[in-house]
Amino acid sequence: MTATLTPKDFATATPSWWCPGCGDFGVLSALKQAMAELGKQPKDVAFISGIGCSGKISGYLHSYAFHGVHGRALPVATAVKLANRDLTVIAAGGDGDGYAIGAGHFVHAVRRNTDMTYIVMDNQTYGLTKGQSSPTSATGYVASVSPDGNPDTPLNGLALALAAGASFIARGFSAQPKQMVAMIKAAVEHRGFAIVEVMSPCVTYNKINTYAWFKDNVEDLTVRDGYAPNDRLAAFEALTRDGDIPLGIIYKEDRPTFEDRTGLPEMPIARLDIRRPTADYAAIQAAYR
């Protein structure tokens, strides 16, 4: 039962619906690898995804998977974790799912600091709806709904998370699997809400932010002299300065989780025997006499 598994044990029989070459394949395989290396069992993993090409990922990870509505993966995942602390809870979704329609939940999930992991698969476009600008698309990105170029400034999701009080922030690139595996592992092991943003190219629609482009435009922060991911100001600087896109663990902090602050019992709520309550129903009623 608890034998260590391999990444294959986290595969489903369902063929993927992604285009050949899609960055999301890299995210999926890193995730399987990380699960195996962490010694997780599929039955104990709850994997909640949003809607989009990226959101389809939950169908391909052998686990208790939930493919909900657009933008709401985080509240679902938060509650799954609170309902059953024994589960490893991972949420995943696209840049549109997480930073457009889901932006409000994102900020609040960060702030709440429930012990879970959130993977944003950032392809800087809306893949599934055929390549419109997303919140992370570059200004000027030409798409069907912005024929004259995207008029908006790209949103910096990780800077936003930092400002909202994130306790773990990392960024990977789907063509760099090793780093991604390490990052996902660190995120899952982090006590609190951990965000991993993965640059995951959309080979069909995004002709700007391609694999080649990324290779030229990312910088591995962990190898940068003296960068330590424990200084909020430095992290903000790294995330917002002009120049290359920083990869690696960008910020990490230990702070109380929502579970800590609410004093949530170790016993998963899902395991309570609701027929035998721990406290007295009658006493409550008596107050209304």
Partner: protein
């Protein structure tokens, strides 16, 4: 002289403490053995603005408001102006004339006036707030409250503030009583209540009964976002759930509240949320997800007057259509509507069982005039509450590959695993899927899945709470209604019967799937059927029309001004049709 029935209205400005006094009066009446119903009518602001608290005491339980106000305690002229027309001839007004006087055009001759400088007396006693307690003394003396009980209850409320405060309040009661004795000995109110036996009863608000019902039903997760008049439930659960190992989350909005509820339920916890119109509107999309994922959630809708922000603190029954029909695509759902505080508890426990047994969203629909109203009722037998979790597999294991989360079965309900169960791993997708949860757009599978999901509404038929039949089973005149209208209609039925007009009242408790058979049967032999509802468009009536057709028998009794029905508003149209000569006894 009217025996043991009185409707007191406390009117003043929001935030002036009349809610506390209103609650106190309700408690006193209860302890005097009377049956009580309260109604809070307050504005959507925190301080100031006319507010009133109605306490109706009678010998019949589960009645609502009376036909008219018997005793108006008015702290300002606005309260008198706003409500003088609602006074019963023979009733009385206690008016604080410290700063204002009653103009002649406001005064009515058929009510008795007790003008007392309440604020002035209070100030002389050293605390202006104490005028509420003085007025309680006045009212008690005029209406015939048991002075011992008044003192006992006031002590109960102020005890934790220390003996000095209690003392002051005791003196305030006394001051009120004395004032009546000294100034109005010659001016009897015409009212006198007889003390009976309190017995083993509760006095509880609808929302508290819902929350308590949820707790007893095993709900251990609630997510919500504050909204009047549903916030009470969130507050109640916040206080009580942790002791039972559960948790309450104040979400960032209702989109989060409902999706959190889905998440917790997916993970195997009985979970609910509670909201009102605007929040319910925001939950629309996720309710559809619950339907297609076959996740059991309970959603409490405490309706208020819409549309949009509307009148957030007023009552209305205008969300029924939304609960039944909103959302793109078609899912099975259940709507239960309690008619009394007692049923609020009972139907909440039923809601959780139905949700889990049939794996779908269940709405508990109530309204401001019921959910924020208090009533007396017998204690709940919590041991009698059954918990039926249906085909839940929350222990042991299943065989991977054989186990199908969305398996087609005879009753259309599939075995449901929760995360952590070995072998049960699957995808639960909001997209159409096959029995194993794999997304597919295959047309034949699609049709079959629609039939499976919707078929649950048929399988469940015998489990649904049946309507309650009040009155005379074979009367020519029928009435259909639900929710907070239950009280006023029940009273109308009783009083019409006393006037020789026999009627029967079908109090619907399951509103969806619509109880077509009960409606059809009820219409059999009815010459007139009055559909009573608190909305403009006749939402219930349209549902009925789809079953029985636009028959001549149908009569609409509607109200949409934000106020609950008074029984006379139901009696009158029936009396007109029934052409009863004798006036119906007005109590």
């Amino acid at each position: 002289m009217i025996l043991n029935s009185v409707e007191v209205m406390f009117g003043g400005q929001a935030g002036d403490g009349s809610l506390t006094t209103g609650d106190l009066i309700a408690g006193v009446f209860k302890r005097m053995g009377l049956e009580v119903y309260t109604y809070k009518d307050f504005p959507s602001r925190i301080r100031g603005g006319h507010t009133n608290y109605v306490i109706r005491a009678s010998e019949n339980h589960d009645y609502g408001m009376a036909d008219a106000v018997d005793a108006l305690v008015a702290f300002d002229l606005e309260a008198v102006e706003t409500h003088i027309a609602e006074m019963r001839p023979g009733g009385f007004v206690v008016f604080d004339n410290t700063d204002e006087a009653i103009p002649d055009n406001v005064r009515r001759d058929d009510v008795t006036w007790y003008e007392i400088p309440l604020a002035k007396i209070a100030k002389e006693m050293g605390l202006e707030l104490i005028r509420n307690t003085i007025s309680l003394g006045v009212l008690g003396a005029l209406v015939g409250m048991d002075p011992e009980i008044v003192r006992h209850d006031v002590r109960g409320v102020y005890q934790r503030k220390g003996e000095k405060v209690v003392d002051l309040n005791m003196r305030a009661i006394e001051a009120g009583e004395n004032y009546v004795r000294e100034h109005f000995a010659d001016r009897p109110s015409g009212y006198g209540l007889t003390k009976g036996i309190d017995g083993d009863r509760l006095i509880m608000m609808g929302n508290d009964a819902i929350a308590y019902g949820a707790l007893v039903a095993g709900c251990r997760f609630m997510a919500g976002y504050p909204i009047t008049p549903a916030t009470d439930i969130l507050e109640w659960m916040s206080k009580q759930l942790p002791a039972f190992g559960g948790v309450v989350v104040q979400a960032e909005d209702e989109l989060a509240a409902i999706t959190m509820t889905l998440g917790a339920a997916f993970a195997g916890v009985r979970a609910m949320t509670a909201t009102s119109g605007p929040g319910q509107a925001l939950m629309t999309e996720a309710i559809g997800l619950a339907g297609v994922l076959e996740i059991p959630v309970v959603v409490v809708e405490c309706a208020r007057a819409g549309p949009s922000t509307g009148m957030p603190t007023k009552t209305e029954q205008s969300n029924l259509n939304h609960l039944i029909y909103s959302g793109h695509g078609e899912i099975p759902r259940v709507i239960l509507a309690p008619g009394t505080v007692g049923e609020s508890f009972e139907l909440t426990t039923t809601a959780f069982n139905l949700a889990e047994k049939y794996q779908l969203p269940v709405f508990l629909l109530t309204e401001q005039a019921l959910c924020q109203s208090k009533a007396t009722l017998p204690p709940f037998d919590v041991d009698a509450v059954q918990i039926d979790r249906g085909k839940l597999i929350d222990s042991g294991e299943v065989v991977f590959g054989e186990y199908k989360r969305f398996a087609f079965t005879d009753d259309n309900v599939s075995p449901r695993v929760i995360p952590g169960i070995p072998g049960g791993m699957h995808l639960a997708p909001g997209s159409e899927h096959n029995d194993g949860g794999v997304i597919t757009e295959n047309a034949a599978n699609r049709a079959r899945m629609m039939e499976k999901r919707m078929g649950k509404l048929v399988s469940m038929r015998d489990d649904l709470p049946r309507a309650v039949l009040h009155g005379v089973a074979d009367a020519d005149i029928g009435i259909v209604g639900y929710g907070a209208n239950t009280g006023p209609i029940a009273e109308a039925v009783d009083r019409l019967a006393r006037a020789g007009v026999l009627t029967r009242f079908l109090q619907l408790r399951t509103l969806w799937p619509f109880p077509e058979d009960e409606i059809k049967t009820f219409f059999g032999g009815a010459q007139h059927v009055f559909v009573v509802e608190n909305n403009y468009t006749g939402q219930l009536e349209r549902l009925i029309r789809a079953v029985v057709g636009p028959v001549d028998a149908l009569q609409s009794v509607r109200k949409y001004n934000g106020q609950p029905f008074r029984p006379i508003e139901i009696i009158e149209p029936i009396r007109r049709i029934a052409a009863v000569g004798t006036p119906v006894e007005v109590i």
